[in-house]
Symmetry: C2
Subunit: 347 residues, 2 copies
């Protein structure tokens, strides 16, 4: 714990997170609803997210790396954690000791798991994203013999669009999974949940939407914002007409202007693409970013809020779909890019 | 320490880092040369960077936040660490206890420091970036009385361009600093070093160039690459003509094609803008990224390297100026976006 007060922080709305999961669980109908918490729960902080979703009723957590499973294995039953990147021979003893469950994606991984008598596992089928999973050309009934498969999964490539690939992947999934013995099937990510009951099977596994992202426009009514960045004002000044602001002088004051510099920059995940486009707020007043976003700082036009003084906290407008459009960066990248320098506090 | 082997890592070239600092020190002529190590040394890892630069002879380290000073204060003499974001009243006792030195930027910070009898400090003058520092309208000889100023600094806005703003800031700096008693003056960042002796004063403070970034084209002969990402191959497959790869099926195989999926994605800082554009290498062979970069994964065309098998490490092409051009993301953002999931090892 630092002896110093932070200058940039994320307010995280725990009620919104839980409400988003509950909405997605409702939209998932009779299917159970898991949660993708890989990449440190999309940047929010995996331990806090997992604890909250577990309280809300979530029982299936998906990470990419074993280090990510290890980081949450004291919060939930390790067997509730699925590791998407599979298992390597070098790790198999540590994997079994930890008790989290690999999602097997290749014949080699399956052989490794069988040789280690690993027990319960998950299996990924590739139905068209061609990224991870057993492909159609690798299907062989003997391959799966002796596996104790809990979740039989595949992953959608185009669920954020109304695209024929969705129906194609669905029918491949049904065909490829026929004859494979498994406790549960799972296909839908956040966007896939919106494609209807046919895509839900026994388990859905949303990610982006949990954290306030709009995987599809038709989710807007169901999903609330979770992440609210805040930054400390370090300085205010009165500039004069003709003064320029920031790197490469991209902004010029047309008149006398009150400006403030706040302690947040692209090193904190506030994308440089928001230069001249982002907005902050204070008491309901909009404060435009002027000039370039720097590594650690942004400068704001506070003409409408002359009451702002150094040492105050101000709010960053951070509605993900909107910020994605302004910055040209995907909602996913905006979340996973949230910096480690920000302290995180839950409300 | 995790019990598991990582699947994504950064090889960091310690000799290149030290050589870059030495090159910048040579280019800085008679001036001493510091180092900007804020934002976790631009994502590389501040503790390792500071230890190496200290060994190379660096004696002045610049961070933005007090937590960043705290994180390296056992590696170098705390008085060698300058904290650019200044000092707050709430922190002043902890600041004095730590012994790192604030860069004062506002009359309020100066008053706080005087009231606390903080001793040695640095002072930032704003000569035209209009971001942090005492502005021309705030200049008042009494303001600085009683301050024990070590570094009197300002910051260049357009040093990466041949722009009249550079000469303008230089002349403002000379004019504003006249009559202010200080041990040393400092104006030049990485790019500023290339503007010539007139910009060097007693101390330069490069950042980007230390880490292999090209702040200006004319630095190419002096700066070597430091950061080399590497990723583990999780899977190889043989796709057929008509198969598509990745989210939204942006890549279609025109023929039978060997592909591999590697464990690096935009959560690790490998920008989504490199979809279909980035390249990996293996034994000198170029492996193009096909389809979209995902959060945790990329898929590669390994037609020219059929010897690649799952479990192998492969190299990511990551020459910063080139990757910046391909991805549309600044070199600074590429560095500070390097993910925390990557293990870092120095060679």
């Amino acid at each position: 714990m630092s002896a110093f007060t932070p200058q940039v922080r994320l307010r995280l709305d725990g009620q919104a997170l839980a409400a988003n999961w509950c909405s997605l669980a409702r939209l998932s109908g009779n299917a159970a609803t898991g949660a993708a918490v890989k990449a440190n729960a999309y940047g929010l902080g995996a331990r806090e997210v997992v604890a909250r979703l577990s309280n809300a009723g979530c029982r299936d957590f998906f990470v990419a790396h074993w280090g990510e499973a290890e980081a949450i294995a004291d919060i939930v039953t390790p067997g509730q954690i699925a590791v998407l990147n599979g298992v390597r021979h070098e790790d198999v003893r540590a994997v079994i000791a930890l008790g989290a469950v690999p999602v097997l994606s290749t014949p080699h991984q399956i052989a490794t798991w069988k040789a280690a008598s690993g027990g319960r596992c998950h299996l990924m089928l590739d139905t068209g994203i061609n990224r991870l999973g057993i492909g159609p050309e690798q299907m062989d009934p003997e391959l799966f013999q002796g596996l104790e498969i809990d979740i039989l999964a595949s992953h959608l490539a185009s669920a954020d669009e109304n695209n024929p690939q969705n129906a194609s992947q669905l029918s491949h999934f049904i065909a490829m999974s026929a004859g494979i013995k498994a406790n549960r099937k799972s296909l839908a990510n956040s966007a896939g949940i919106m494609l209807g009951n046919g895509f839900h099977f026994e388990l859905t596994r949303p990610g982006l939407a949990l954290y306030g992202g709009m995987a599809r426009d038709d989710m807007a009514d169901h999903i609330a914002q979770v992440v609210y960045p805040e930054a400390l004002i370090l300085q205010t000044r009165l500039l004069k007409a003709g003064d320029t602001v920031g790197y490469n002088a991209t902004f010029t004051c047309h008149d006398t202007m009150r400006v403030a510099t706040a302690a947040i920059g692209y090193a904190d995940g506030y994308a440089r693409g928001l230069s001249g486009l982002g907005r902050f707020t204070h008491d309901g007043k909009l404060l435009p970013v002027i000039g370039r976003v720097s590594m650690d700082l942004v400068t704001l036009d506070i003409s409408t809020a002359p009451e702002i003084v150094e040492g105050q906290w101000i709010d960053v407008q951070y509605e993900l779909a909107n910020i994605s459009e302004l910055s040209g960066r995907s909602q996913y990248e905006l979340l996973t890019g949230l910096g480690t320098r920000s302290s995180r506090y839950w409300t």
